[in-house]
């Protein structure tokens, strides 16, 4: 059966009506992975046997007429930084290349309990550090729309897999845009939830005050449904929010956008933004205005300094979080060493890739005596300023619209020699993480060369419902076909 374009609703309906069995469905997804993933390279690990066995169990439940979970039988994929019990979790790193977690992350557990079928673990930039997926220690994932181009990062495998139809929905993590950026590059809907709305328990830490897990889907409905499945309080995560969650996003998103207030921050459309990206996003704003929203330009002067603050804070947290990898307890250990110091030095130097080492060094630098006040302290103060500026903006607007990424998907190798150029691709996404607010990226159209362009909507804390509302309204008007053609792809 052809599974490529199936929505979560299509699958649920098909299983309920017995149009197909879950085993047949999952088998077809596995066939598709087998046929095309050698070209896309989205998966680090494919859980074929486990997926079939879980699908058979779903079929038995259906045959017995048992109550089905919200995600029952839905094929999903997980970024390889979410711990999965008994399934290798590499974080895209040589450091964790043989790490098999003894427990499930809360998100993996929640999905399992709701009946989801995990198809496998997806490629990523090492320790979620990167914007192109080229920093994976294993291989570079390719963009299904043009395999000479990157899928974005760091959840590039998650984006490529959802786009290529290797799973109905996938999950990634977003520290500074790592869900939204690949969603934009691969023509998907990607959600970065409010900080604390989804448990981080069992997510390999990068920047703990910024990391958040979210879904990537081929429609707003799919992304909202998958977000609802994973949101909620978790006592195992000390930053988990205890209240404020909404349910029935499917109903909430269909209330229309008449009277909704949409802000256009002029600083997000200035120099450095590709002309086609700017025009596509502004055209989306115009569509929303025609559909009844109040659209107004305003000033949000945070883009340049926000990028600096983000890289200072995230690198500082990374340098601390990655201090645990010492070659002694678990993870990569060097073959030869004379003493303890050499064991640690060689294990870390051999186990980490270039970008991870660069971030650890940067983080150590900004936290070191003499530079702490000049960089880390100022970044933390600026963080409070960003939060206050967003708070004030959301008194006036329900949502803020911007490009997700200032540039079109770039070619593999195009930016690898200049880390600063790579960092600049994150300019419009990082401030959302600094402020802890939610944001969604969705397709706004295509470039003249046929590459997807993404539009980002940002909202106040716990206002995901408003983001789904505006995104759904735009999606309905745009009516884009977001299924890449994989035939003939080399």
């Amino acid at each position: 059966m052809d599974v490529a374009g199936l929505s979560i609703k299509d699958i649920k309906r098909g299983l309920e009506n017995k149009a197909f069995s879950d085993e047949e469905l999952v088998g077809s997804y596995l066939d598709r992975i087998k046929e095309y993933d050698h070209k896309i390279k989205a998966f680090i690990t494919v859980c074929g046997d486990e997926a079939i066995s879980m699908a058979q169990s779903v079929d038995r439940k259906i045959a017995k007429g048992e109550k089905l979970g919200p995600m029952e039988g839905i094929p999903v994929g997980l970024k390889d930084n979410m711990c999965t019990k008994g399934v290798r979790t590499t974080c895209g790193s040589k450091m964790l290349s043989d790490f098999v977690p003894p427990y499930d992350s809360s998100v993996a557990k929640k999905l399992k309990e709701q009946g989801a079928i995990t198809m496998g673990k997806l490629n990523m930039d090492e320790f979620a550090m990167g914007s192109s997926n080229e920093n994976s220690a294993f291989f570079a994932t390719r963009n299904p729309w043009d395999t000479e181009r990157v899928p974005g990062g760091s959840s590039g495998g998650s984006a490529a897999a959802a786009s290529a139809g290797f799973a109905a929905v996938t999950f990634g993590s977003d520290t500074g845009g790592s869900i939204r950026m690949p969603a934009s590059f691969c023509g998907l809907v990607g959600v970065k939830p409010t900080y604390g709305a989804v448990s981080r328990y069992g997510l390999v830490a990068f920047g703990s005050s910024l990391d958040q897990i979210g879904p990537l889907g081929r429609s707003v409905e799919d992304a909202a449904y998958a977000f609802e499945a994973i949101q909620g309080f978790d006592p195992k995560d000390s930053t988990s929010l205890q209240s404020g969650y909404k349910t029935d996003y499917d109903g909430l998103m269909k209330q229309g956008i008449k009277g909704m207030r949409v802000g256009i921050p002029k600083e997000f459309f200035g120099e450095g933004v590709d002309r086609e990206v700017r025009e596509s996003v502004l055209a989306s704003a115009l569509i929303l205005e025609k559909a009844g929203a109040h659209v107004e330009e305003f000033s949000l002067p945070i883009t340049e300094t926000g990028l600096s603050a983000y890289y200072i804070i995230s690198s500082a947290e990374a340098s601390s979080n990655l201090g645990r990898y010492d070659g002694v307890r678990y993870g990569y250990r060097t073959d030869s060493f004379k003493n303890y110091e050499e064991l640690v030095l060689k294990s870390r130097t051999e186990g980490f890739g270039d970008e991870v080492k660069r971030r650890i060094m940067l983080g150590t630098y900004v936290l070191s005596s003499g530079y702490y006040d000049a960089y880390y302290k100022k970044a933390m103060l600026f963080r409070q300023k960003v939060k206050a500026l967003y708070k004030s903006a959301f008194e006036k607007f329900d949502t803020i619209i911007s490009p997700t990424v200032p540039v079109l998907p770039f070619k593999l190798g195009e930016k690898t020699s200049d880390p600063l150029q790579m960092y600049l691709a994150d300019t419009f996404t990082v401030n959302v993480n600094i402020a802890g607010i939610p944001a969604i990226s969705m397709p706004s159209g295509f470039s003249s060369t046929g590459l997807p362009i993404g539009v980002q909507f940002m909202g106040d804390h716990m206002s995901e419902d408003k983001l789904f509302r505006v995104a759904y309204a735009l999606e309905k008007e745009l009516k884009l076909d977001m299924m890449p053609n994989l035939e003939g792809v080399e």
């Binding site: 019990k85 043989d98 790490f99 098999v100 003894p102 427990y103 604390g196 006592p235 000390s238 929010l241 205890q242 340049e304 300094t305 990028l307 600096s308 603050a309 890289y311 200072i312 340098s319 201090g323 010492d326 070659g327 002694v328 307890r329 678990y330 993870g331 250990r333 060493f337 003493n339 303890y340 064991l343 640690v344 030095l345 060689k346 870390r348 130097t349 980490f352 080492k357 660069r358 650890i360 060094m361 940067l362 150590t364 630098y365 070191s368 000049a374 960089y375 302290k377 100022k378 970044a379 933390m380 103060l381 600026f382 409070q384 300023k385 939060k387 880390p419 600063l420 960092y423 802890g436």
Partner: protein
Amino acid sequence: MIVTKKEVAYIAGLANLMFDDVEIETMADEFSKILNHFDNISKEDLSGIEMYSFADEPLRLRPDKAVPFEEAGALYENTKSMQDTAIKIPKVVD
């Protein structure tokens, strides 16, 4: 902002990482460029801002109750080597 090779070598020591001379030189050059960009933070007016705000979410405490991990054996799966019931680690004290 110019980052020297000496500073990079010093930071590498703090970070428990090793680099050869060529890598140190490349990193000094990259860091100079990146930190020059970061200098835009110095132009921001940050007066009157408190560094930490704890008002977002009240502090949550959990009951101080031990919960046994039921699959203790699984915890040893990632160790490099075992001897009887002990985890064997490299010699770390000279």
